[in-house]
Amino acid sequence: MFKFLKYTYLPTIGLFTVVLLLPLLVDSSYYLRIATFVFIYAILVLGLNLLMGYAGQVSLGHAGFCGLGAYAVAIGPTYYGLHSALSLVLGVLATAIIAYLIGRPLLRLKGYHLAVATLAFGAIVFIILTNEVAFTGGPDGMPVPPLELFGITILGTRTWYWIAGGTLILASLAVCSLINSPTGRALRAIHDSEVAADALGIDIRAYKVLAFVISAVFAALAGGYMALFDGHVTPVSSSMMRSIEFLTMAVVGGLGSIVGSVVGSAFLVLLPQLLSSFQEYEHAILGGLMIVSMMFLRKGIVPSISSWLLRRFK
């Protein structure tokens, strides 16, 4: 009966429904703003999930890519008079190139070496963004001119809700398609047994780099959206703590699960809101939750629930 849980495009349909219905159920601008944050981060986590859940690689520096996209839409219009949309595209392209250049040598590494290498990358981006005060505004960051399309200024929660939600649905569609294609199968094969994938003629390195670049592109896009939505960027968007949060979103939501990416993102965006009265305990609680959820729900929230459902109703 619950076989339909395995249907390929189910996650996309589910997301479509949620995005469409949410504004009808929740009319408050405050909650829609939170939802927008969730969608934007979910895009990044989706990419990270592709890298971690499908290709099986760990990245502790994805906030670095996020920061690159964010600052692109700040710097482009401010210093070069470029249109915001063009800046976003250029930022994403530049990120893709950087990801390719550092990915090619580093993705030969396994496990912890790769984790530390990506950590180093994220740290370097953070340090540059913090120190180049004249260009980036330093630790206080800089303002981001709003996006203007066809003479209309794209501002406001409702507009960005649809942009973010729509992009998330498209991203989810793309990832669903990818998973059921030779590329997707190659990535999954690499994750399960590199040795066997190699013997079958799959170019391991190329596919790992591909997953890395795609995830970097998603991260840069999310960073750009966040900057345009928020109106301001700071180096914090590329900090190590952010990278850890993104990683946690992916793992707690469920590696390899598209819906999990959104659930994980929601979990970590909502947490500070719920804990606002416990503000000073926030870090402690986050840490504790990370530990507890990994001890008891190892596969992540969504896969744990769906495999429980499949077992119950077989």
Binding site: S177, L178, P182, T183, G201, D203
Partner: protein, 260 residues
């Protein structure tokens, strides 16, 4: 007509010569079995042909092309692939998906097209799936198609790896202890599959310890001992070779062989 030519292979690990001037040929459509006591160097030789190790001296040619020291994924593209002694199945994929991965080299691989789900991708998925189902049927696993590989019995997984390797459409298939850990029934199933594979024109090189299987299945046998070739020939010739019997089989084994 020989399709795989291994000549004068020597490999040294530090001071130890694991293999010393070993040569053999594999002919088209035949089953050649590599046997020998533990530590004889069979697995090392296998791994050299499979592209995992590079020999210190010697040459491996595939249909005339020198493939010595080339990496496994290059070899797959040239029509040589292998299975693994300690199963390297994609446990989190279904049986049919495992075999579909083997079709990788025969698919159009543009990742952008895959992201955009262009029409040819869906059509290709169907074709790949059909071909994979055919291969599953060929090895007798047709009904396991959508079963998660992690839940399949051991003997079936041994055959699944063969089906997956066949998906590459190789001209040479290397089998690394294809019946290791199998019971009599499972071994017989795997042996039948190997026979079918060779009959369909694929040349097979296998490393095995199961004498019963080797003597029944192999067209020719190559015996290694301590890194050197001890004997080669048909199973009957090797069976009665005194040096082979003494070095490897022992008195009780001799009886077992004469009963095989």
């Amino acid at each position: 007509m020989n399709i795989l030519n291994v000549s004068d292979i020597t490999i040294q690990f530090g001071g130890i010569k694991a293999l010393d001037s070993v040569s053999f040929k594999l002919n088209e459509g035949e089953i050649l079995a590599m046997i020998g006591p533990n530590g004889a160097g069979k697995t090392t030789l296998f791994n050299i042909v499979a592209g995992v190790y590079k020999p210190t001296h010697g040459e491996v040619t595939l249909r005339g092309e020198n493939i010595t020291g080339k990496r496994p994924f290059y070899l797959a593209r040239k029509g040589l692939t292998r299975t693994f002694q300690n199963l390297q199945i994609f446990y989190r994929m279904s049986a049919i998906e495992n075999v579909m991965v083997g079709r990788h080299l025969h698919e159009r691989r543009n990742p952008i097209a895959h992201l955009l789900s262009l029409p040819f991708v869906r059509k290709q998925n169907r074709t790949t799936r059909e071909k994979a189902q055919e291969l599953l049927n060929f090895v007798g696993l047709g009904r396991f198609a959508d079963q998660e590989a992690g839940e399949m019995p051991y003997g079936a997984l041994k055959r699944l790896e063969i089906a997956r390797a066949l998906a590459v459409e190789p001209s040479v298939l290397l089998l690394d202890e294809p019946v290791a850990g199998c019971n009599a029934v499972e071994s017989a199933d795997v042996a039948a599959v190997i026979r079918k594979v060779a009959d369909s024109g694929v040349s097979v090189l296998l490393v095995e310890h199961d004498m019963h299987l080797v003597m029944k299945l192999a067209d020719r046998v190559h015996v290694l001992e301590r890194g050197k070739t001890l004997a080669q020939g048909t199973p009957e010739e090797v069976k009665v070779n005194p040096a082979v019997i003494e070095a490897y089989l022992g008195i009780s084994k001799e009886k077992e062989i004469s009963n095989a």
